[in-house]
Symmetry: C2
Subunit: 264 residues, 2 copies
DNA sequence: AAGTGGTCTAGACCACGGG
DNA sequence: CCGTGGTCTAGACCACTTC
């Protein structure tokens, strides 16, 4: 029995080896961002394999977000982008200087002004996850205010805000119009002043709608922020923010930060 | 020229149709979490296609995190897991009751006690990203303290803490031992009291090391938290937390939250 | 041994992008 | 037009799991 180091069985698959070679060339800088990889027929020749095997290797790299393919053009090393930064919160007493919007304040953009491209108000039954956060029963009516935003011309944010119907009924929240000064101010005027909120942050692969809107390539996750706002007694709003994972970072500052290190 | 609705060209690919059919059965509940999908030969028969086409469809669903395949057993609908929640910060004045650890306090686990499975201290040159955050030059020496943690028996967290060498040199930070009361306390004793910190949160696909440690299946991203700690004057520490995206949520509380809605 | 997914081949035709 | 990636087929053999 030949000597083998531990279990060198893990992966001698040919498509893995091809992927490893290409990945090495990318991380070492031999293949630079934006550069085209050898064409599939070339790789078939270089690695003496079938085209399907080559495509398996490329699929691996694609799903790891290292390359993108464009039909008719080729396969290219993914170019790193400077991400935007959305502020979850900042130390109190510091004016933000940002306009009132349903979105989190953002920094790092070229022109810095999010642009709403679609806005929609619906009344539906609460899903299980929405009902749980708003302390409703599943199926209870809720108002959804949907917003799609672009930044620097690229789609970057989907917002779904959910309001319990007993709060929203007969108020501007039901109307498909922008709400002056934001919904938090409006809820305060209705007697439901926001006392605090909880953000719950997660990451997952995009669904079909998100994939289309963000024009994502395979291998890019989305970041989801569920912000539940509370009055002194009860949940008053759930806002679900969905960002594309490759262009967005969330920032969160606590305590005193030397000025030159602050975001925004 | 036959009439076609807009661009019905988008995708009539057979493997897309197969994936759509299976996805419908999953989301509608006809195929329940944990249940086995029809075998690949069965799908070949049902959809009158080749096996490669069937596997393309299954690869799609896998990369969307909807199914997992296990060799020799079959393809199964991914079972949802109740995620752990890590607290980024909480409103001041509330004792956390958690033990001192480099990790963020966690809730939602069965036995609630993170367990460190590997610990390592290294001295290396700063990468570009680390240098930027610690205000060093690329290549400057830094101390890395690496920690791998399990929770409820499953790998859940990788921590890399970076310290500028001029702070860490000759201190216990250089030693491969647990630091009593945590490194923040130690840095304070050294004259670098933490005044505040900035968290930068992102999501991306795992690299090979992360993929192995977390035993991830394709279609699961990781969540990355970069926490840069500052004294009154300068950055004193960078901690990089990497969580598996399918089992972790980050929580962040601001203001006053009614007690029964609080995390942890 | 039988059934499952994992890897691989060799070939075909289509769709897109650019000369 | 040509070269690129996208889709699809038919068949082969291997590796893992269970019985």
């Amino acid at each position: 029995m030949p000597l083998k180091e531990s279990s060198r069985h893990v992966t001698d698959a040919k498509y893995q080896q091809i992927a490893d070679r290409l990945r090495d060339q990318i991380t070492s800088g031999a293949l630079k961002p934006g550069q085209r990889l050898p064409s599939e027929p070339d790789l078939v020749r270089d690695f003496r394999s079938s085209r399907n095997t080559v495509r398996l290797a490329l699929a691996l790299l694609t799903n790891q977000g290292l390359v993108v393919t464009r039909q008719g053009l080729g396969t290219f090393v993914q170019e790193p982008v400077r991400p935007f930064t959305a502020l979850l919160s900042r130390a109190p007493g510091v004016p933000t200087g940002h306009h009132a919007t349903a979105a989190l304040p953002v920094s790092g953009s070229a022109d810095g002004e999010p642009e709403t491209v679609r806005f929609l108000v619906e009344q539906v039954s609460a899903s299980a996850s929405v009902a749980a956060k708003l302390e409703l029963q599943r199926g209870d009516p809720v108002v959804i205010r949907r917003t799609l935003q672009r930044l620097d011309g690229a789609p970057w944010l989907m917002i779904n805000s959910y309001f319990p119907m007993d709060l929203a009924s007969g108020t501007p929240l039901e109307q498909a119009a922008c709400i002056e000064d934001g919904s938090i101010k409006l809820l305060a005027d209705l007697g439901y002043a926001q006392a605090g909120f909880v953000d719950e942050i997660g990451a997952r692969m995009p669904d079909a709608r998100e994939y289309d809107f963000f024009r994502l390539s395979s291998g890019t996750p989305v970041i989801v922020v569920n912000r539940t706002s509370y009055s002194q007694e009860r949940p008053i709003r759930l806002s679900r923010y969905v960002y594309r994972g490759d262009r967005v970072r969330l920032a969160h500052e606590v305590g005193v930060i030397p000025a030159r290190y602050r975001s925004g």
